[in-house]
Subunit: 443 residues, 2 copies
């Protein structure tokens, strides 16, 4: 196995027993990137010499002083500030811009010993559904999804073990599914968004990509994510057992949009879970949840009216029409409608927590279907919006394939601040989905 | 009248009819600052030469191309990024730090033609109640309040016509009251917080200081704040008439903390309003609002656990104990308690909107009393927290004095997204409070 194929957890073990240096690891990743970059184009900025310089610096730290992520290579979505690299948001307005500051997530990872590899491509301001030049590593004629296009593609293509993304609609879970990897959107407000370009104050959430749930757990440790100490958490100390557990299968109001790949995957997933001794109960959310997709849109439009005002004023002609529409309130959303959406969703959050809390997790689609053909359109976030607005943690579990052999993942959802529980469940479910679903995350 | 005494609206008129250049204006302000800085110490960073350079640049813009704030001098709280000045958060961790980027509010003001004067003092990260070296301009033995200490003091002392602040507890309204000026906290999420140090994702709000409500309206224009077009808004096109209007007087559950100055001011204010033909009805908020102060604290603690994680990891020893406690969850707030607070407050927001919507505004205390003696403690935000957490717009209206001749303001509160309505009401109320209350905002 080449170093570039290692998960973060595996690489850490090799650094610890001195069978691999960070420099060797970095050189392996850089060679992989050099080989694959023409095909995938995941990077908005990457300076190999600087990566090696950072790696040497990390190698020079005495073993006793190393951080919990010592040497783990991390790809950063290019809407997050990095003090030593440009942050360009895939916008001509910010071409070559280089704020001398780290986003909170970058500062935290860097302090933990993370090796910041470079910046990954995004749709414009992580807002539009128009793809950058990035291609799906599993089939270059298809989109890797968005808006965290480069982060998901880089992790799937073994160019980085973990990557940072963000989700306002479906920008973490969707590319996670399209690229056949694990993607994790934590509970809203559990991870600081400081230094991440703002789209919606009520919805934006930092997200993580990895090829194993252990790697996501490693990141959850670094970001000090903790559930309450209750009976369940202590039960899970010995790992989550699928046998005897209960899952809710939730199709949601957007189910008619599901394509054959997702329909088949959801059916197969329920069967795999049942085969392993779980109870899978299909439930419908109460009818008040039917307005969630509409409300998500209203919140997005309203928040973005304020957040993109500076760019609109300074260079309206350089903004995507979608963003201009947000600021100009093209959908003519009244303040009353806006507040109805804010308050309507807020009232549903505890309701959903109550429903989800009765199960090990909610099982629900991540995407409409496989990654669509073409790189212009990054795909629909229809199945993700509701959970983003409800602020609950979501993990995309890879494991299935569509009619064209492309990966299809499914989402596991837990109540707010049950992130550690959800990750533990995801680890067990990820293993059986991948073992029986037909798609193994690459390594 | 010297140029430094002008409100923003007055200065704009002089720039328009060419009776004042921006450079003359800037020199007048700089002379005022030079004279008063030893006594007030409002600035964390100010470079007079650079201010003149910016002023000359603004003067060189042809009249037809000038922005709506052309030449208006603006003081910026030192927790907001400015691409051409350091941003130090009153923290040793960020001493001399200079991210090359503008906060969204700064970019917007700069593009509108604002002259960014410099950075004003703050408590550490706008989080603690421990004052910087700034003194109350009306009495140097007393605090100007916090956390927006320098911004409020600078505006009150005629060192800047307008200033940016922020409010997570009472950091805009409280110093507004202590310094005898207008202070405006808009509806939460109506103004982008991008590039402003995050304390609480659910509470942080950008705030504004000025010596006239017209100046606040000017800023509301620049930030595109708009109410719904309804009957009331059209009525207000001819100005708000106090005669025949109805105000709710709300003491809130923290009323027992009110000192003699605030008790007297609230009584006097009700009388002045009634004398002008308004109905003032004292009402009690429903009992479910009694938990608001507690819930505000829980939200603050919980949010700050995530937002200060990077600084805690990097330099715990350089952080105030309050901030360390946030990250370490010293108050042992469970996730369940946190969610109860999030959801409890969210459920009360529409309730409060409904109550406030029946009146021209809610009249309620801004502070416990006059600015306390000493500059170590910046005073209590007890009367502000509830409104901050409810996300409603608030304006501090100066006009009264305490037992020691120091200013005391009162808050006007409106439903969310009724900012323009609230400003119109504030203009009328500000005039009669100042005419009869004994305190005139300086000019």
């Amino acid at each position: 196995m080449e170093p570039y194929q290692l998960t973060a957890t595996q690489a850490l073990a090799k650094f610890k027993d001195s069978t691999l240096t960070v420099e060797e690891y970095a050189r392996s990743l850089l060679a992989r990137i050099a080989k694959r970059d023409d095909a995938v184009k995941a990077w908005a900025y990457l300076n190999p010499e600087y990566v090696i310089q950072q790696a040497k610096q990390l190698d020079s730290i005495p073993p006793g002083s190393r951080g919990p992520l010592h040497g783990v290579a991390i790809a950063v979505k290019d809407i997050m500030y990095t003090k030593d690299m440009p942050t360009q948001h895939n916008s001509p307005i910010y071409e070559g811009d280089e704020p001398k500051v780290d986003a909170a997530v970058v500062a935290t990872l860097r302090h933990a010993g993370g090796l910041i590899l470079g910046k990954t491509t995004t749709t414009e301001f992580a807002s539009t559904a128009t793809g950058p030049q990035t291609r799906n590593p599993h089939n270059p004629t298809r989109t890797p999804g968005g808006s965290s296009s480069g982060s998901a593609a880089a992790v799937a293509d073994l160019q980085a073990p973990v990557a940072l993304g963000s989700q306002t609609g479906g920008s973490t879970v969707r590319p996670g599914s399209f690229n056949g990897i694990f993607a994790y959107k934590p509970t809203w407000s559990a991870v600081s968004r400081e230094g991440v370009k703002t789209y919606s104050m009520n919805l934006d959430t930092v997200g993580f990509f990895a090829r194993s749930v252990q790697d996501l757990q490693l990141l959850a440790d670094v970001f000090a994510l903790e559930d309450d100490d209750d009976d369940d958490a202590s039960t899970l100390q010995d790992g989550f057992s699928i046998k005897g557990s209960r899952f809710a299968l939730v199709k949601t109001t957007v189910w008619p949009q599901a394509g054959p790949g997702t329909v088949a995957a959801l059916g197969a997933a329920a069967k795999v879970l049942r085969d392993h001794g779980a109870e899978v109960e299909e439930i419908e959310l109460p009818p008040e949840f039917d307005r969630m997709p509409e409300w998500h849109g209203v919140i997005l439009d309203s928040d973005a009216r304020a957040t993109f005002l500076p760019e609109y004023r300074i260079a309206k002609d350089k903004l995507a029409p979608l963003i201009v529409d947000h600021v100009e309130n093209a959908n003519k959303i009244s303040r009353a409608a806006q507040l109805e959406a804010f308050d309507g969703v807020a009232a549903l959050r505890p309701l959903l927590d109550g429903i989800a809390g009765k199960y090990a997790a909610i099982l629900t689609p991540s995407v409409i279907d496989e990654a669509p053909v073409g790189i212009e359109f990054t795909g629909s976030p229809a199945f993700n919006k509701i959970w983003t607005a409800l602020h609950v943690p979501v993990v995309n579990i890879p494991g299935f394939k569509g009619e064209n052999g492309m990966p299809i993942g499914l989402s596991l959802v837990a109540p707010r601040y049950r992130d550690r529980h959800l990750l533990e469940v995801s680890k067990a479910v990820g293993e059986i989905f991948q073992a029986q679903g037909g798609w193994w995350t690459r390594s």
